[in-house]
């Protein structure tokens, strides 16, 4: 079971990637996936306090369960306009 993780802007630059495929386990939530990702990539830790999460293009609580094939986006504070 896998999900796609999308990275943007400052986070993509720090990660050196815009898209990752991550394995998930039964019972995973946005928070558990995020914690695993940050453990693997310490360069992302400094962004964590202000990150939001979108699951399949919808802002979600970090308690939301993730499903195989989902797309999880890490959303740093937006600054469009």
């Amino acid at each position: 079971m896998e999900i796609t993780v999308l990275l943007f802007a400052s986070v993509a630059e720090a990660a050196g990637a815009r898209r990752l495929q991550l394995p998930i386990e039964h019972g995973d939530t946005v928070a558990t996936v995020r914690d695993r990702l940050l453990a693997e990539r310490p360069a992302l830790a400094r962004f964590a306090p202000n990150l939001l999460y979108a699951l399949d293009e919808e802002y979600v609580d970090t308690a939301a369960p993730v499903h195989a094939g989902a797309t999880l986006a890490l959303i740093p504070p937006v600054s469009g306009g």
Binding site: F8, S10, E13, N50, D61, P77, S79, G80, G81
Partner: protein, 148 residues
């Protein structure tokens, strides 16, 4: 309802045409433009990143909410991405409505909401450095603990 995230130059006349209607007495346009300075620093250019499919989805949600809240006839929301030079338009909004008050109030609300929640990011590039801007009004700066 014209909603678009694009790398192409934004054309106000296209947005105006998209919202025109025989019942419209007022059309309001807003252009967010690249300024040559920010917080006392000279800006060389901006680089916009976006999550295009989600940005268009959220822009559409905001536009539909604005239409219902302010009784707009129609609205158009376009955001440009990529490298933008000083004076170029990054955000283009057009609204049409029966009377003028809604064009100003609805337009203002639209821009405010876009800056809160549309997944688009700007990097300021100066002569001697660069920085991804974290919008002080963004949801990311004030979301509830359950979203962290």
């Amino acid at each position: 309802m014209l909603i678009r995230v694009t790398e192409e130059v934004l054309r106000p006349e296209e947005a105006t045409a998209a919202v025109e209607s025989p019942g419209a007495g007022a059309i309001g346009l807003f252009l967010g433009v690249v300024r040559d300075n920010n917080k006392g620093r000279r800006v060389a250019y901006l680089e916009y990143d976006a999550y295009p499919s989600m940005a268009e989805k959220v822009m559409r949600e905001i536009a539909e909410e604005a239409r219902d809240r302010f009784g707009l006839i129609d609205c158009a929301v376009l955001h440009r991405t990529g490298r933008l030079e000083i004076g170029e338009t990054s955000l283009l909004i057009a609204v049409s409505c029966g009377h003028r008050a809604a064009s100003f109030e609805g337009g203002h609300w639209l821009v405010d909401e876009i800056k809160k929640r549309v997944p688009v990011w700007k990097k300021e590039v100066w002569e001697d450095g660069e920085e991804w801007i974290e919008g002080p009004e963004s949801l990311g700066m004030q979301a509830p603990a359950s979203m962290r």
